[in-house]
Symmetry: C2
Subunit: 339 residues, 2 copies
């Protein structure tokens, strides 16, 4: 089978102890073995195509140089990009990443945490799902290094990297107000997760600050699951009332994709009939007839920063909890009706 050659084989071949081989092969321990012996060892290692067994090393060292990443779903482009960025940044620092998709389901997230912990990952990066506070508290209690990304729980003190969702929504809606829209709707997810609450709060504050009294029919929430139909119903209702909306802010890209499809089926014209602002860009919108105004999340920074915070936390050099808010950017194009 493979990987049969171990330190012992090299030691035997050269006629030294495994200790000598270990010293000779690890950098920074040069003084421990004479150069001549070291060279013979290195030659033998190369000849036998020696590949160190990281599992054995990990067991001995108590470190695996592995990071665990729990996201909602890799097949969602937003999370796929995060996964990619985290992978690259981790690799750069000599870490491998193991990821898992929680599907926004706390039970699956628990399973993943246990699997990753049993595999002795050195730290975790987590996009927490709803109702997973218990998990986060457990990790804190167990002193597992971790950082939350994209979302966090304000009532739990922990490291995180997130965007300023309040501001993102506030700016988006203010922009629609400035464009002259009076009846601005918002389509969001029905979830207690803080990032979504913040987006809703931003929406509401912006309405207030624009002197537009929010109508309760303008803010609709749908659940994960049967998105397509729920979005249809929600948008239908926003458009049906006497006070039909004249602008719509989508709280995520998935909501925007589904919402726009339905709006198109109604033959409504963006932005004339309905002005639109969405969250995130993406290939999905590349072919939309009207270039969309959207909130650009700094996803690369989000991913990089989460790795950096985690590594700092693991090395103990940061002395505690770091909470990072990154600023999103409102990219203005035609769909909001101002240009």
């Amino acid at each position: 089978m493979r990987n049969k050659v171990s330190l012992k084989d090299i030691a035997q071949k050269v006629g030294v102890s495994t200790a000598a081989v270990s010293y000779a092969l690890s950098t920074g321990k040069e003084g421990k073995v004479s150069e001549e012996v070291a060279n013979r060892i290195k030659a033998a290692a190369k000849e036998l195509n020696y590949q160190p067994n990281q599992i054995a090393k990990s067991l001995k060292m108590g470190r695996t140089n592995t990071l665990g990443l729990i996201i909602a779903d890799v097949s969602n482009p937003f999370f796929a990009t995060i996964a990619r960025v985290v992978e690259d940044e981790a690799n750069k620092h000599g870490y491998t990443v193991i990821f898992g998709s929680s599907d926004e389901c706390p039970e699956r997230a628990w399973d993943l945490i246990n699997v990753l912990l049993n595999r002795q990952v050195d730290g975790l990066i987590i996009v927490p799902s709803e109702a997973s506070e218990e998990q986060i508290l457990y990790l804190k209690d167990q002193k597992v290094p971790f950082v939350l990304i994209d979302r966090y729980f304000p009532e739990i003190s922990s490291s995180f990297v997130a965007i300023n969702n309040y501001k993102a929504a506030y700016d988006a809606v203010m922009h629609l107000a400035k464009a002259g829209r009076k009846r601005i709707g918002m389509l969001a997810y029905k979830t207690s997760l803080f990032h979504m609450q913040e987006r809703k709060r931003g929406y509401q504050e912006a309405l207030r600050d624009s002197g537009l009294s929010p109508d309760e029919n303008w803010l609709k929430e749908v659940r994960h699951g049967d998105i397509k139909n729920e979005v249809k119903t929600a948008v239908e209702e926003m458009l049906a009332s006497d006070d039909a909306i004249d602008a719509l802010f989508f709280a995520t890209n998935t909501l925007a994709i589904n919402g726009l499809k339905y709006i198109d089926s109604l033959k409504l014209k963006v932005p004339d009939d309905l002005a639109i602002v969405s969250f995130d860009e993406g290939e999905a919108f590349d072919f939309y007839y009207c270039p969309l105004t959207f909130v650009r999340q700094p996803v690369v920074e989000l991913g990089n920063k989460s790795v950096q915070l985690l590594l700092a936390q693991m090395s103990g050099s940061d002395g505690g909890i770091s909470q990072v808010h990154l600023d999103p950017e409102l990219v203005i194009r035609k769909s909001s009706g101002l240009v």
Copy 2:
């Protein structure tokens, strides 16, 4: 720190050997320890919140229950979906997956293979990049269980799961011919990889079988890297000649996205000015004004099958090499000009 509780701690608490604890806690070894002792052990394990250290177990067992997955790029939706499917299928069988993105670069693929092997993955699923034959031969030589996915090297005997690319392209182009198109172009990648060769062969055979003598200007190849500009130039040339194409077959979804953007900028109308068939569906096309005819790859089956083949190979129950070709499906919509 975390995970401090080991078999030894439980053994001490209960007053038995670690062996007894190990037996009591592993299923299928019931007879090895009296029920009464076993119960006390289990109670203690629960009380101490014992979590087995998989690293230690792996070292001892010579198996990690981990699969390595090397794809071109997780942030590409096609590969992201494969990653997701592989993850789910592997989990179902008790395996964790570690993935890495090779970026179609053989050096990066080599690095990934070494990292994964050093981490003692039990097997590999690989989307091979160009010029990586050496790597595949190495894996064979080392008797590492692996299966290739999406692509393979016909001159190297190995397990793989791929689609019938020749047929996919042949059917697509025949369909365009049936739609009355006479000058059918194809935009492909410049690569020696077999799947692309097969797609080109399918295109050429279909032209021949339709009595359309292929013009060498109709088949263009671009390199990864500066896709956007190369696609632009290629499409430009296909349209510029006296024999300008009246239909275009895209060999991948990335090529289609870039190609269609350029075609749109030319104000060409699909399918009247130019009929289109693409590879893969995707959100990207959801908003395209003309529903696209495309080759649907059975990506879920592709992923599932690759895991199944790998597990069979690892268990030694399949006695060698399995080569699976899955059939793609041509989904006919408006862009090809027949409906």
